[in-house]
Symmetry: C2
């Protein structure tokens, strides 16, 4: 029997359509490890490979230029402009803001044919530290209201270049969707005096059936109301509204958890496309009790179609508990 | 210079990234008319072709069984169950509703290798009338709160069968996204005493630069804050909250407008994948001044990636005015 489940943090409903149930192993990708494995270690035409760097685009590299492990560059075709002043216009009935902001690319690793699932935890750790350094620096810009850190892996996830990279976009507004989620979390706190994300984590830990990884500082689980197969959240155990406040020890631990989860996807489903997003509160919020930063991992195994566009809801043909069980059993 | 534009009805921001501007003709599909044109008129393996009908799934056909022009069947793998009772459960901290509802398929036309862009207006009219009849019938079901009528055309739009068809999904809840849009429209009415959709239409008619088609009863235009290239709305001139209330004369006129817009996409961009959605108020709302039913057409020319999933915002690499100009010039 199909069922509707609600994500208690976002209030979004999903349909778990067990009538059309697909088993988790139905999503194993047919082209074995195709995104990453088919590539050479070095590609002479790749702008992210060592030796091909466009130095005028460079913002920062670590540990140093000639032996960089991770580096940050300006996006050559930025979606937002770091130099434009912030101006607002009421254009007749329309509302318009200049595209002021930042759009940076983090080249995660010098090797052309690797990806987070194949990198060592200390290499991911270096990328997370780079995110944080860039976040603190971008936060100095008074025009910025919201920073999104994300990674697109594979064609279906929107990656146009194969060399492993991540992106940072800093916006001069708080997006409507994020504003609504904050409001839902605030409302839950108002109703129950509890942080809804903490309640979710405690509940998942108590049940255990959707848990993927537990570490000292983080918990990774497939969502109860997963909009799509294998949709996973990684939440800190300690309440905090922003990734920017994560301590060095927590980042090191997070790197281990990320590698663990991503290796399960990589080996279990054969390198599926995925998006990974770090969700933090707007940068000008210093602290509050109701919100929680976290990471979302969305394997891109199906297409959003007319129903999803028309309702904002998703139809998930798998049981989240079954997906978690499948991933827990993957040998990494 | 990139800019942010806000859709005044939904309050959603989009980035119009003119730095990475692509010209509208950059979206012409490379495989000429591939979705529809390559198909035979009749496919012996297609469950929607005449002669292959599974009669036990049939709900209704028009004008009659042996010479049907359009027919409605139960989805063989329904996302919701027409027979299940509506039950709610608080499962620990989680909220759960049985998947009670309807999931019907409208086979638009007997021919295997046609599509709305190639059908005659009176054939589309028959499909719209079928939508309405089914909507009125489904509305009798007290469990139903929201009906979504939609069409997925092409693989990238989520269509798994090539024979032209549409879908009707009836939900036992009002989705969060629709609730939020209703609330925004109500708020605009509260602030200004005007229906925000009427204000948008008047404004577009006054400017003209994004208009695609004007008819006696409808206006079609590319959105000022289009989330993606060629994202189009078709809005009735007469305020009404539900497609179910459209009069026969209006449906006939709408069929002409739909064919006009879809032929521009078909010939201008060579049969791109698209989703088409009819957006109406929840079925138990009888009338109000602030909402408006309308149709959204979303050509699927790009992928939503990490930024879009993380922010709910979209980056559109084209100017909506340029897209409208391109489509207006297409010879249909």
């Amino acid at each position: 029997m199909p069922e509707l489940r609600q994500n208690m943090a976002t209030k979004e409903w999903v349909i778990i359509a067990t009538e059309r149930a697909e088993r988790p192993d139905g999503f194993v990708q047919s082209e074995a490890l195709s995104i990453t494995g088919d590539q050479p270690t070095f590609d002479p035409t790749c702008p992210f490979c060592p030796g091909n760097e466009e130095l005028d685009l460079e913002i920062e590299c670590w540990p140093e230029r000639d032996v960089w492990q991770t580096r940050v560059v300006h996006n050559k075709f930025p979606a937002l402009s770091k130099d434009d002043p912030l101006t607002r216009k009421f254009d007749g009935v329309h509302r318009w803001i200049s595209g002021a902001g930042h759009h940076e690319i983090v080249v995660d690793h010098p090797k052309h044919n690797t990806t987070w699932a194949l990198m060592a935890p200390n290499e991911i750790h270096a990328v997370l530290e780079m995110f944080q350094r860039r976040g603190w620096s971008i936060r100095e810009d008074e025009r910025v209201e919201q920073i999104i850190y994300f990674k697109n892996h594979g064609h279906r996830a929107g990656a146009s270049l194969k060399h492993t990279h991540s992106q940072i976009i800093a916006l001069p507004i708080v997006p409507t969707n994020i504003r609504q989620r904050l409001e839902e979390a605030r409302r839950y706190f108002d109703d129950y005096g509890q942080n809804v994300f903490r309640v979710m984590v405690e509940n998942e830990l108590g049940l255990g059936e959707r848990i993927l990884v537990e570490s000292k500082h983080f918990v990774a689980f497939v969502l109860y109301a997963a909009p799509a197969p294998f949709h996973t959240w990684i939440i800190p155990r300690q309440q905090s509204i922003s990734f920017l406040y994560a301590q060095p020890e927590e980042l090191a631990d997070l790197a281990e958890v990320l590698v663990n989860v991503l290796r399960r996807l990589y080996f279990g489903l054969r390198d599926p496309s995925y998006n990974l997003i770090i969700r933090s509160a707007p940068v000008k919020e210093i602290s509050n009790d109701y919100y929680q930063w976290y990471i979302t991992i969305v394997p891109r195994l199906s297409y959003a179609a007319g129903f999803e566009l028309g309702s904002g809801m998703f139809i998930n043909p798998t049981l989240p508990e079954g997906c978690a069980d499948f991933l827990r059993k993957v040998k990494i």
